[in-house]
């Protein structure tokens, strides 16, 4: 029971991070029907940006308030990652709109390789550790010496995720940008005819997705305290799995899928084998795509000629 509760907490934390990344996949897929393969690496770039920002604030400026540091880091990482993602869309994806179907995907794979190796060249191949930031924990239960703990950083991650989702939900449902986005999702040509600036909407979709990935990146850095140039690939695939599981194109689905993947991964590691936890996540991806391609909350796709 204690182990179960503890794994539940850990799983939800991990799932929040996956969910935030998954939103980027699902939005981009919804609007231009492409798997943004480089999204996982954008997430990794944001974690590195966060690392640089934290180092700048602590070692150079000598700031000590953890919450101020986190807040500034979040904003900085969101801005710069958004900028990076905007540039990527502009340089690598936009010229390919209207090209053959696999072209954006191949371009995205190239971009993914480019980004991870760019970070390797620019920042070095080693793991980059930061000093532990928020170390306090709340003890929820205790029995026979086994403590169920809820770390403050887990609270922060879940709270920030929940808060962002509310803001993001409002953005998509209530603002003109959100309306334009949903219009482009339904029919890009018709939206353009009705005066929606499609290119700009798509760019902003990439920026928003990247900003949410940046939050995930900073949270990841804070939670694990270490980041490496290769850290984008596996979380990226898992977040994509989450997006597919929840139903690609569906925003609540992405979050739900993220939480489920996080829970499955932690429970699998706790009760079965930790070596095969990635195999479990990848197998879910395969099984879902084969047997339930529309996901939990997605609409079935009808192929038109």
């Amino acid at each position: 029971m204690e182990i179960f509760v503890q794994q539940l907490i850990n799983g939800l934390t991990l799932g929040s991070i996956y969910g935030l990344i998954a939103i980027g996949y699902t939005m981009v897929f919804g609007i231009i029907g492409m798997v943004n393969f480089a999204h996982g690496d954008v997430f990794m770039v944001s974690a590195f940006t966060g690392l640089i920002c934290i180092l700048l604030l602590t070692t150079v400026l000598g700031m000590s308030s953890i919450f101020l540091i986190l807040a500034i880091t979040l904003v900085v990482a969101m801005i710069f990652t958004g900028l990076v993602s905007w540039t990527i869309e502009r340089v690598a994806y936009r010229p390919l709109r209207g090209s053959f179907r696999l072209a954006p995907m191949i371009s995205a794979i190239g971009m993914s390789i480019f980004l991870s190796n760019f970070v390797q060249v620019a920042q070095g191949p080693r793991n980059k550790p930061i000093p532990p930031m928020v170390t306090d924990v709340i003890v929820l239960m205790e029995r026979d010496g086994y403590q169920v703990t809820l770390a403050y950083k887990q609270v922060i991650i879940m709270a920030v995720t929940a808060g962002l989702l509310v803001v993001f939900w409002w953005l998509v449902q209530k603002t003109s940008l959100g309306r334009a986005q949903r219009a482009c999702e339904q029919d890009r040509k018709m939206a353009a005819l009705l005066g929606v600036n499609v290119d700009r909407t798509i760019s902003l979709t990439f920026v928003i997705g990247a900003a949410l990935a940046a939050v995930a990146g900073v949270m990841y850095l804070m939670y694990y305290g270490v980041v490496n140039f290769a850290d984008g690939f596996v979380p990226g695939v898992k977040a994509f799995t989450a997006a597919v599981l929840g139903g690609i194109g569906s925003l609540p689905g992405a979050v739900l899928g993220g939480l489920l993947i996080g829970l499955i991964e932690t429970f699998w590691s706790a009760y079965f084998s930790i070596e095969y936890k990635d195999v479990a996540a990848f197998s879910i991806l395969v099984v879902v795509l084969i047997f339930m391609p529309q996901g939990l909350l997605g609409r079935p796709e009808v192929e038109k000629v």
Binding site: T59, F100, R101, S112, E275, L285, V286, E303
Partner: protein
């Protein structure tokens, strides 16, 4: 969104390497000339600023390990400034010269040409020239490939010193073969497979496990002589590796048949990773991350390359040299690659090859014409996988050591990059891309002059940049030459005349 700021100020023509937002607006010809310079300068400045800010966090700062273990910051703002200036200057020059004319000609070219003749006129003269040359290129290429060991030995002077060059030749040919194998799946059938390395791994591990297996060795030693398995294991296992890989191709291909292009890509990627993770974790079978060592070396059809009695050198009356084995390996991979090419060329002319090409162009049309898409996709997967398996067995016998390290996603990406850069579907293009990429990557090691103090300094390691260049090249080829360096998507079969149905006018089909 704070990050939305820079987006709003950009004018739509900012990065007009894109097709959709090219050049200044049409329709105001009188006022175009004067603001053009201003516009170009503004655009260059904006891109320079963008470059500066994009590169600022990760290039401008460098988190380095200090002695105590915690990270310290270095500053490299000068480098960021240099990049930004280069981009600004480059864009200014390009805006004023190249892109101006290209923007104009593109507007004409975007109107779909009415007839085939017009289409050919708009297209560059290269395809026709290429067609004239291609009858010469293939025999020449094959001739050079056969004579390569001789050339290398003669030029370097002696068998021993040519080791590096022969090894490089083997290395490149392995990728040529892998590229041709993947080309069947990606280039001909249009199925984007990101897990091709899985079949390479299956082939390598099949050979590695069978050849080092003690029970098989003991069993055969009792019947066919003590040294039989050591001498013949590669030649027995080579077809087995191919068959097993093809079998896995069918197993992995079967469930994913219903998936479209990008879903298929992700699922194959997941399969590739699953196989690698199983190889790492199933320690009792595969020895885990430590890999399998002491795989028996290749033999000249049962004749070992040793100095002793019954060896290759003694039988043929040569003085023993360890290079004999290398040269033989070279010819084995050349033969395997040639087999791949030959099978592909023949299959393209058979119904199944034509069905692949039809599938690549349009799956729905293909199905409505009565082509069994399930079977077509499965054969593509199986045959592509089989050649991956052959290449894997060869890899294992060449290196004589296999470990999961060799079969990462990056390997798949490199093979895919070769196919993409070569122009999906083109045999010569894939071979050229493999030589260019793998050879070029190898040449990066030799660029020691870049390490001189006035260029990049002694810490500069050019090999670090190879995957960076790979990634960049994939994006660049997709943006500028989506048909690859050597494009070949003309239909193999046609009625009366070669209509450019699959040329640049038609979008690619649904994989």
């Amino acid at each position: 969104m704070a990050s939305a700021g820079p987006v709003d100020v950009q004018d739509p023509g900012l990065l007009n390497s894109s097709g959709s937002a090219a050049g200044p607006p049409v329709g105001r010809p009188a006022r175009r000339e004067a603001p053009r310079l201003k516009r170009a300068a503004g655009d260059a400045l904006a891109s320079g600023l963008l470059t500066f800010f994009v590169l600022l966090p990760l290039v401008g700062f460098h988190a380095t390990e200090s002695g105590t273990g915690s990270l310290m910051l270095d500053y490299r703002f000068g480098l960021v400034g240099v990049f930004a200036l280069v981009v600004t200057a480059g864009r200014l020059v390009l805006n004023l010269t190249v892109w101006r004319e290209r923007g104009a000609s593109r507007r004409v070219a975007r109107v779909p040409p009415a007839s085939v003749a017009e289409a050919e006129a708009v297209a560059s003269p290269w395809p026709r020239l290429g067609a004239a040359l291609s009858s010469l290129v293939k025999p020449a290429f094959f001739g050079i490939a056969i004579a390569y060991p001789l050339i290398a030995v003669t030029l370097v002077g002696g068998l021993g010193p040519s080791r590096y060059w022969i090894d490089l030749g083997i290395y490149i040919l392995t990728y040529v073969m892998l590229g041709w194998g993947l080309n069947i799946v990606v280039g001909l059938a249009g199925l984007l497979d990101l897990g091709y390395v899985a079949f390479y791994a299956v082939g390598a591990y099949t050979f590695a496990l069978l050849s080092t297996s003690v029970p098989i060795n003991d069993f055969l030693a009792g019947h066919l002589g003590d040294d039989f398995w050591k001498a013949w294991s590669f030649w027995v296992c080579l077809p087995l590796s191919g068959l097993l890989a093809a079998f896995w191709g069918v197993i992995l291909g079967f469930p994913v048949l219903r998936l479209r292009g990008d879903y298929l890509a992700i699922v194959t990627l997941a399969f590739g990773e699953i196989i690698r993770l199983v190889l790492i974790n199933w320690v009792s079978l595969t020895n885990g991350g430590a890999g399998i060592a002491s795989i028996p070396p290749i033999t000249f059809f049962g004749m070992p390359f040793t100095s002793g009695e019954g060896g290759f050198a003694e039988t043929f009356g040569l003085t023993y040299d360890s290079m004999h084995r290398m040269i033989f390996l070279y010819f084995v991979i050349l033969g395997l690659a040639a087999l791949t090419a030959l099978v592909t060329v023949r299959l393209r002319k058979m119904p199944v090859g034509r069905a692949w090409e039809a599938l690549r162009e349009d799956e729905i049309a293909c199905r409505s014409l009565g082509i069994n898409t399930t079977l077509t996709k499965l054969t593509a997967f199986a045959i592509g996988a089989m050649f991956g398996g052959f290449a894997g067995a060869f890899f294992a016998v060449r290196v004589r050591f296999v470990s999961p390290e060799s079969f990462t996603f990056m390997e798949s990406a490199v093979i895919l990059a070769i196919v993409v850069l070569g122009g999906m579907g083109s045999q010569m293009g894939v071979a050229a891309a493999a030589i260019l990429l793998i050879g070029g990557m190898e040449m990066l090691r030799n660029l020691s002059f870049l390490k001189s103090a006035w260029l990049f300094g002694p810490d500069f390691d050019p090999t670090l940049y190879r995957m960076l260049i790979f990634g960049f090249a994939m994006v660049a080829v997709m943006v500028w030459r989506p048909r690859g360096l050597v494009a070949n998507r003309m239909p193999t079969v046609f009625l009366k005349e070669r209509k450019s149905v699959s040329g640049s006018l038609v979008k690619e089909g649904h994989g």
